[in-house]
Symmetry: C2
């Protein structure tokens, strides 16, 4: 059994959470380096070009035996192949990856809604701009993205985004929706009334035995105002 | 021979250009739908969920025989496998894709520098915010990204980002640097003095016979102020 080590920042679900959900649903053992001693320092050290041939620009990255794989969607591509979290036909493999990359685009937009000027500045230093960008996110971008994913669920008719079985893209849709519910409870009440396949989908994923066990475990990091999905009441409806 | 059709907006290099460069370097025939009659209308029509099982959230997407593949990095993953534009070992395949996804992140940041509030508003409606975000791009983000890619070229010592042969990630670095030179000529003069592997790399790619032929051809769309890489003098140094 390959030994997995997930390298991601401590204290937030962040992009690491997409990887954690896949590892948990696959039922494979892994070490979440963030919660070991000096976790963040290990994350930084392991990205340096003098210690690895495959330095990441940013976490998360996964060490899998001798392999080092960075970028969320890339890690999921790997885990999908290894653990049956993606279909096997060529078209379906690329389709699931396409969906994952679209989640990646959405996540970047959600982050930048509270940090539209600079990731290195505090939210408090870009509040006026964040209010404008978040209004656009809630009113234009979220309907477009959620409508897209809702339509795929509806058309497929299987309860999953791709084919007859759960894939890593399903786990990612689950996490994005959970994050949006935390960040924008009012906007999401409105949007989930319109995009009616989302709520039953959330329940279906949350009730899977491994996911359910994980969500109740101490391994699940709660959402907070340090991560990608942030609840600032002034940014909701 | 599989017939390829690239679906992307007309009139800009945009994200489609990463795909065009790979197709051109691979020496495969393709139809660039953008430059056919009613190209943009065909791009929109082909994304609709009632005409395809695999609708894209946004272009580019590629039709390859019976396959439909969306998302730039995903298309390149496919073309890399099909046409020897990526190494074959597992670690190297994921490494090249990781680099490509990092280009994707950079490209999104470059776009949002001139559109920090909303992609659907004009630049003129978000000039003050664009000036702030672009300052951060030039002073913090570009040095971080270009330093990262420069370091990989330097360490590798082969002239390529991954191993001993050109990969699709190399073509993408070429295009990003070309775009940045167009958008921020002053900033890039400063940055290329610091990151000294970039300029010889550009020359090496530009002089490859197929790339060179393509760059001189009418198939190459010039940069302009409608695309991702925009030259607004007030946003440069």
């Amino acid at each position: 059994m390959t030994k997995y080590e997930l390298y991601y920042w401590s204290g937030i679900p962040g992009r690491g959470e997409f990887v954690r959900l896949a590892l948990e649903e696959a039922g494979v053992e892994y070490v979440d380096i963030a919660v070991t001693d000096n976790g963040d320092a290990k994350v930084v050290a392991g990205m340096k070009a003098n210690v690895t041939e495959y330095p990441s620009f940013a976490p998360p990255y996964l060490k899998a035996g001798k392999l080092t794989i960075g970028q969320t969607a890339n890690i999921l591509l790997f885990l999908g192949e290894q653990h049956g979290l993606a279909p096997k036909s060529k078209q379906s493999r690329f389709w699931v990856h396409q969906l994952q990359l679209t989640f990646g685009d959405l996540v970047a937009e959600i982050h930048d809604a509270h940090h539209p000027i600079a990731a290195s500045l505090y939210y408090e230093d870009q509040k006026a701009e964040a209010a404008k960008r978040t209004k656009n996110l809630r009113e234009e971008r979220l309907p477009k993205y959620l409508g897209y994913f809702d339509g795929i669920l509806r058309r497929g008719g299987t309860g999953w985004l791709a084919g007859r079985r759960l894939s890593y893209a399903d786990l990612s849709l689950f996490h994005v929706t959970e994050g949006l519910r935390y960040a924008f409870p009012n906007a999401m009440r409105r949007l989930e009334k319109k995009y009616r396949n989302l709520a039953p989908f959330q329940d279906r994923i949350a009730s899977r035995p491994r996911v359910s066990g994980y969500l109740k475990s101490g391994r699940r990091q709660p959402f907070n105002t340090q991560g990608i999905f942030r609840h600032y009441p002034e940014l909701d409806e």
